[in-house]
């Protein structure tokens, strides 16, 4: 294992020290491993918190700031945070209008956020609504699985719901917007390499040099199938086709096309992929009105990419375009 760390045990807390040092707009509670906006919550604004295992940066801490999250709870690498963290964050960001929890659909995340919401209700009376993202079409969604995983749509949801909260909308309205984003978004990823969790010290899975894992999860969960490495055009089709088969993206007000890097793939390759994705979408009669290209929800140093499509309506588009100022996303300010 070759990593720029001090010790595997301190990687999360050391990174939080760096985030605090680098970003004056943020405040870090190092004891509870929570990243907040430095400014106190604006009275009457719905609070937005998220969180999850570390190792997916900039998600979630890099999306704390104006127009997105109010707080992000950092768990150990690839391990969900504990309820105490979300309870504390909920109390701190509540400004009288309630708090939205943005939760990726993994059993640990869902259970720990659920317990936090129960504790918040019992201890503080703060109104909490949770919205769970489950956009990964690689997983069969049935009664016989934990359901689809929350991946790329989480980034888009945090941006759009954050904008709705910033406008002063109610908790019910912000939650409705968030659910609409999740319902209209789909994703699929591919890994070219595994990744190494610092505490484990060795790659999570073995993947031969000439093979790819199609449908991989952001913790190195197995995908749909393992295939020989192929040109980007072919791989883009492998990712886009299952997404289009799952939801009709034609019509409406167009889509956001999001090509995400999993951590170890350079931007030049992501743009190669974006071109191929855009070409397939155009041929399929789908209008791309906004794009996002870069590493936004990663899996440590895993090489690979994911594609997320979000079907827009005029309100979602307006909220997507609203000003945002976070370490990970910034425009209009």
């Amino acid at each position: 294992m070759k990593k720029l760390i001090n010790t595997p045990e301190t990687v999360v807390s050391d990174a939080l020290l760096g985030i605090a040092a680098a970003h004056q707009d943020l405040r870090v509670d190092h004891q509870n491993k929570i990243i907040y906006r430095a400014a106190a919550p604006r009275p009457g604004k719905v609070g937005l918190i998220s969180g999850g295992g570390s190792g997916h940066e900039p998600l979630h801490g890099g999306f704390v700031g104006l127009g997105m999250l109010d707080a992000a709870c950092a768990g150990e690498v690839f391990t969900s945070p504990v309820p105490d963290q979300m309870l504390e964050a909920t109390k701190v960001v509540d400004a009288g209008a309630g708090v939205l929890h943005v939760v990726k659909n993994y059993t640990g995340d869902v259970l720990n956020f659920e317990m936090a919401a129960e504790l918040a209700a019992a201890e503080t009376g703060v109104e909490v609504v949770a919205v769970v993202t489950d956009d990964d079409v690689a997983v069969q969604d049935s009664l016989f699985t934990a359901g689809r995983r929350g991946v790329g749509v989480t980034v888009l949801l945090e941006k759009i719901a954050g904008a709705a909260a910033e406008e002063g909308r109610s908790l019910t309205e912000v939650a409705d917007v968030a659910r609409r984003v999740n319902a209209n978004g789909r994703s699929m990823g591919v890994a070219l390499t595994s990744c190494t969790v610092p505490a484990a010290g060795r790659p999570t899975f073995d993947l031969p040099d000439d093979e790819i894992e199609v449908g991989v999860g952001i913790h190195g969960e197995p995908g749909r199938r393992r295939l020989p490495l192929a040109p980007a055009a072919d791989i883009a089709a492998l990712l886009v086709e299952p997404i289009l088969a799952d939801l009709d993206f034609t019509g409406g007000d167009g889509v956001v096309a999001f090509v995400n890097g999993l951590g170890g793939t350079p931007l030049i390759e992501l743009y190669v992929m974006y071109h191929e994705v855009a070409r397939i979408l155009a041929a399929s009669g789908i209008t791309v009105v906004r794009s996002l290209v870069g590493p936004y929800i990663t899996s440590l140093e895993m090489a690979g990419a994911s594609v997320t499509l979000l079907k827009l309506d005029d309100e979602l588009l307006r909220l997507w375009d609203a000003p945002v100022s976070t370490p990970g996303l910034r425009w209009g300010v």
Binding site: G75, E76, F78, T79, S80, P81, V82, P83, D84, Y106, T107, G108, L111, N112, E114, M115, V139, Q140, L143, F144, T145, A146, R149, V197, A199, A200, T204, G217, H219, E221, P222
Partner: protein, 233 residues
């Protein structure tokens, strides 16, 4: 302590014994979890149970309810992942079920464990055969309740629960996972023993050794999993 009278001290011994067994077998638990999960069950449970023992040492909780509640709250706060809320809820619901009792008899402990199981089901939505901790815990609860209904003494009732938990654990091997991260594997989860059911079997066995005399268990030590030749003292 007289046999059949389960007080705070006995429950404390159970918690310590379970913590010691989790620590001793954490590599095996993690190994089972790396096959079908995310390779952290041993480390997470070890961290959580060590914290639970430390909390009991620090707070010296008085009464069964306080012991069980302290353990539950500590597990929720220290473990993370799915095991934290599930094991935490198991102990919290047991604590709530024992009420203000200073001493539990066997059937009282059995009812508390049933309440804990109900909490795990409510939290995790597991059903029989999903390949989870439920598949070892539910048979153990049922065996315990059935034994007391027949008027069996505490040692023999706990021994029956151990047998049922071990059988339930082994029965997870051919199951297709339907809950948690293992469910993403689909058919590939078949043939692997569930790590949560494995730690539950340790929990039930240590209960027999600490809440009773363990005399009903016979001389043979326990196998933790197929790959593991280890025995329990």
């Amino acid at each position: 302590m007289s046999v059949g009278a389960i007080d705070a001290e006995a429950l404390g011994r159970w918690v310590r014994a379970f913590a010691a067994e989790v620590s001793r077998h954490k590599e095996v638990l993690t190994q089972l979890d790396s096959a079908i999960g995310d390779a952290d069950h041993g480390a997470n449970m070890d961290r959580g149970m060590a914290a639970a023992v430390a909390a009991i040492d620090l707070e010296s909780p008085a009464g069964p309810r306080a012991v069980l509640t302290t353990v539950g709250l500590t597990l929720v706060s220290a473990v993370g992942g799915a095991s934290g809320p599930l094991y935490g809820t198991l102990f919290l619901r047991m604590g709530a079920a024992v009420g203000e009792a200073e001493v539990l008899d066997g059937p009282g402990f059995s009812r508390a464990l049933e309440a804990g199981l109900a909490g795990v089901v409510a939290r995790g939505k597991a059903e029989p055969g999903d390949k989870t901790m439920y598949d070892a815990l539910a048979p153990a609860c049922a065996a315990l309740a059935a034994a007391f209904a027949e008027g069996v003494d505490l040692d023999d009732a706990l021994a029956a629960a151990v047998g049922a938990a071990d059988a339930g654990r082994d029965a997870t091997i051919p199951m297709l996972a339907r809950k948690g991260r293992a469910s993403y594997l689909g058919e590939r989860s078949i043939g692997h023993q569930d790590p949560g059911a494995t730690s539950i079997a340790l929990l039930v066995r240590t209960a027999a050794l600490t809440l009773g005399t363990g005399s009903g268990l016979g001389g043979a030590g326990a196998r933790v999993c197929v790959e593991d030749a280890g025995t329990l003292a």
